[in-house]
């Protein structure tokens, strides 16, 4: 049985018809072009870099879409269009904020699109992932362990968290691909365990399920993994993200709201302990609760970030015409604030809408995986990564939650993050066309 058609029409003969995904891709191209032109106007000249970015992006978009549409049966190309739109926006943003980084990010985009196509076009992707889940997990954890030992920080600052592995000139952040590996592993674990989890009953045997090692085993495993991230790596963002995504998966698999409650309780508990035990946690929480007295000191970043939102107003200052570079490391952690200042609330809402559509489409895929719990849970986990990570960083930048240094998917500077997110979308596309395993 083919998956239910998610695109509006049969994708195979859309060459001359404007489907929503093609429309979005076209809009994305126009957006990239006009913004690059506007940036060149502001700077007083166009550089080869500007042209290269547009050409590379357009090539990736056209080839990627063509391959997806021709090689797959009714894939969810809209996911690809949205990923391309956001990553194109990200390229413009990096070109504007930290131009020397834009070339590298453009190269990463090529690798990322290749990665997406690889997982989306390989028919056996999902089965392979499932079969090699332990290998993947071990490899992922080994990478993590090697980061703990050999980790570096590209900035070279002594106090900066060392979350990167260096290969010559290239820095990789293993926690990024590890997100997918863990979701794959958990999805396959829970796909096998969920009938048991559910069979033990929620209403009648509350006490038993609460005590069941099937539930608490993985919870504690993930919790301790998160703690490892926090303690050895001081990577607050990854710690919270892993734990939240895992809690979500477990909740969906078991159907028990108790999971969510106990997960939340554990986060609060870890937060309280972390507050007193780790400087990084205390700093983030202090600055979150009381930024104003320290606006010139520890809270400088967040205060400047809020000012960027205010300065942007409803319509923004226009690309290259705001002053978001007052925010330290704006091109990675605070890309969202830079968008707010230069594209305004309009840009912010567009971005949020794109993420909402991505997440909705991802979760909708999960709903249609009848009889394929692995696919369903995988789609849920991947969507949850996207949503949680976006919410964590957007909420942090807006002072809704304490800042956790995660990237804004597709937009922030960073190769590992970009490739991971594209592979994630590739997997979702693969799920959208997958036959029953």
């Amino acid at each position: 049985m083919p998956a239910e058609a998610l695109t509006l029409e049969n994708a195979q003969d859309t060459r001359f018809r404007l489907t929503p995904d093609a429309l979005i891709l076209a809009i994305a191209g126009i957006f990239l072009l006009t913004n690059t032109a506007a940036l060149a106007l502001v700077r007083g000249g166009i550089s080869p870099r500007d042209i290269a970015i547009v050409v590379v992006w357009a090539t990736c978009a056209l080839i990627g879409r063509r391959l997806l549409v021709t090689r797959l049966r009714q894939p969810d190309v809209l996911l690809f269009s949205l990923a391309m739109f956001l990553s194109g926006w990200g390229l413009v943003l990096i070109n504007r904020l930290a131009a020397p980084f834009a070339e590298r990010q453009t190269l990463w985009l090529v690798i990322a699109v290749a990665g997406l196509l690889l997982v989306a076009l390989t028919p056996r992707t999902l089965r392979l992932l499932r079969s090699f889940r332990y290998t993947l997990l071990v490899a992922g954890l080994a990478l993590l362990a090697s980061t703990i030992i050999f980790g570096e920080n590209p900035s070279g600052l002594p106090a900066a968290p060392e979350l990167w592995l260096r290969f010559g000139d290239i820095y990789l952040q293993p926690s990024e691909p590890l997100k997918i590996v863990l979701v794959v592993f958990l999805a396959s674990y829970l796909a096998e365990q969920y009938p048991a989890l559910r069979a033990e009953g929620i209403d009648t045997h509350l006490r038993r399920i609460a005590m069941s090692p099937r539930v608490f085993g993985p919870i504690l495993l993930m919790w301790s993994l998160s703690i490892v991230f926090l303690v050895w790596q001081r990577d607050l963002g990854a710690a919270i993200l892993f734990f939240a995504v895992f809690t979500i998966l477990l909740y969906v698999a078991s159907g028990s709201a108790l999971i969510v409650l106990s997960g939340a309780a554990l986060i609060v508990f870890a937060g309280l302990v972390g507050y007193f035990a780790f400087d990084v946690v205390r700093l983030r929480v202090d600055v979150w609760l009381h930024p104003w007295p320290e606006a010139g000191g520890r809270a400088y970043q967040i205060v400047q970030s809020l000012m960027a939102f205010a300065a942007g107003g409803p319509f923004g200052q226009g690309i290259g015409q705001g002053l978001p570079t007052f925010i330290p490391v704006v091109h990675s952690d605070f890309a969202f604030a830079a968008i707010a200042e230069e594209w305004g609330l309009l840009g912010v809402i567009t971005l949020i809408a794109c993420i909402a559509v991505l997440v909705t489409r991802g979760l909708k895929l999960a709903l249609f995986q009848r009889g394929r719990p692995f696919n369903a849970l995988l789609a849920v986990g991947l969507s949850a990564i996207l949503a949680t990570q976006s919410l964590l960083i957007m909420g942090g930048v807006l002072k809704l939650v304490p800042l956790t240094g995660v990237t804004l998917p597709f937009l922030s500077y960073g190769g590992s993050s970009l490739v991971t997110n594209f592979v994630l979308v590739g997997l979702l596309i693969r799920i959208s066309v997958s036959e029953a395993a």
């Binding site: 909740y251 000012m307 300065a311 979760l363 976006s390």
Partner: protein, 481 residues
Amino acid sequence: MQFTREITRLLAAFIVSLFIVAGAAAYWAVVGPDTILGRDDNPRRVVAEARIRRGAIYDRNGEVLVETVVENDGAVRRNYLYPATASALGYYSLRYGVGGAEAAYDSILRGDTVTRDFGETLVNSLLHRPQEGSDIRVSLDLELQTVIAEAMKGQTGAVVMLDVPSGQILALASVPTFDPNTLDADWETLRSAESQPFFNRALQGSYQPGGTLQTPLMAAALLYNRPLNVPLQPATRPVQIDDLELGCAVRLPEIALSLRESYAFACPFPFAVLGEALGPATLAATLETFGLTRQPTLPGFTAPATAPTPTPEALVIGRDDVIAAAVGQHDLTVSPLQMAMLAAGIVNDGNAPLPYMLLETRAPGASVWEPVQAIRPTSPIATMNTARQLQDLMRYAVANGAAQNAGRPNIDIGGHASLAYAGEGPLSWFIGFTTISARRGVAIAVVLENSADPGLAADIGGTALAVAHGQLQAASANSGA
């Protein structure tokens, strides 16, 4: 379908969270401009401020005094062309703000007062054009400023010159001063300097009036028909106030002098006697009439002078203090601007004009100057008769008295030079005027700190008045022809 309920709930939670994020972004976008953007530590304000093209400042004859220069790299620099105008025009610094005329006319110079229509505002904001300010023309005269700066070299003190009858400030100098072009670099040195270069002595200085109160006292003597020409004995005897011994402006042996002569030589003794005879109430009323209890506010300039007499409180003189008050060594302190107003009032036949400096403004891009409209009431300080008699007394003092140094051949100059004592040392005062016809002239006040030489103050005044007189004659010849 498995997981339907859970996935639906999850999706709902995500969507709600995203809405909250959008709501927070909207909150800061809408509320932020009025709150956090106004914070002092918003770097955008500094950047916007740094881009503002402040208007130029012209002197009364259209000479550029201050201009804004846009460097090749787009940086904006404020260029002060003449050191002689520094104390009057003040300074503009991104780091330290504004002072003097730069502060008084800040909103005009910044361009906040320019009315722009909606379309213009929209285009400017879309293209992020820097704000442009209006040019202003002030009443200062570059030539007078330069002459005064030259004459005051090495002194500590102030000079104010007013046009009569308009009240326009022709010159304003406070010495020592600062170089506004290098203000940022010199700030700390200047701020801690003992000579207080940022303190505008002409406007904010509160000086012991001393013998300069003899002019209003003479007005009271005239009012009460005191004889001017009857010799008084002992006229030149010093007056003892606590441990201060006050003498005439020039050293004189113990001789008899008439009241007219005592005024000319600024001898305190007859005025102590006069003050006692008038009584504290009349004395206070006289000083009040002459405007000495009210600090004139030069709108927008530094706050209305100093703290001592901020409220128009009635001057109270106790019976025991009447002598000290009569010789200007009591509570009352005056600023050079006040004394210049008093002199201007005498030249203007008893009506003291309100001093002002701003003449015209020119919007950015405009070619026409817009005159500044304002109602400028004069305050009556004496009758025309009294004022004219005082003018003659002052001419006499220049011809025969302590103010001789102010005299210049063939120029009508009147004045009064006197001494005062402040805690730290003596002060020399000179107030005077020059005229080309009735109620048409220039008034001046000069004060020198730590100087027991009123002749020098008179000389500085005479030099400036002579130049002013030449200008007046040239102007009237031009308008006549």
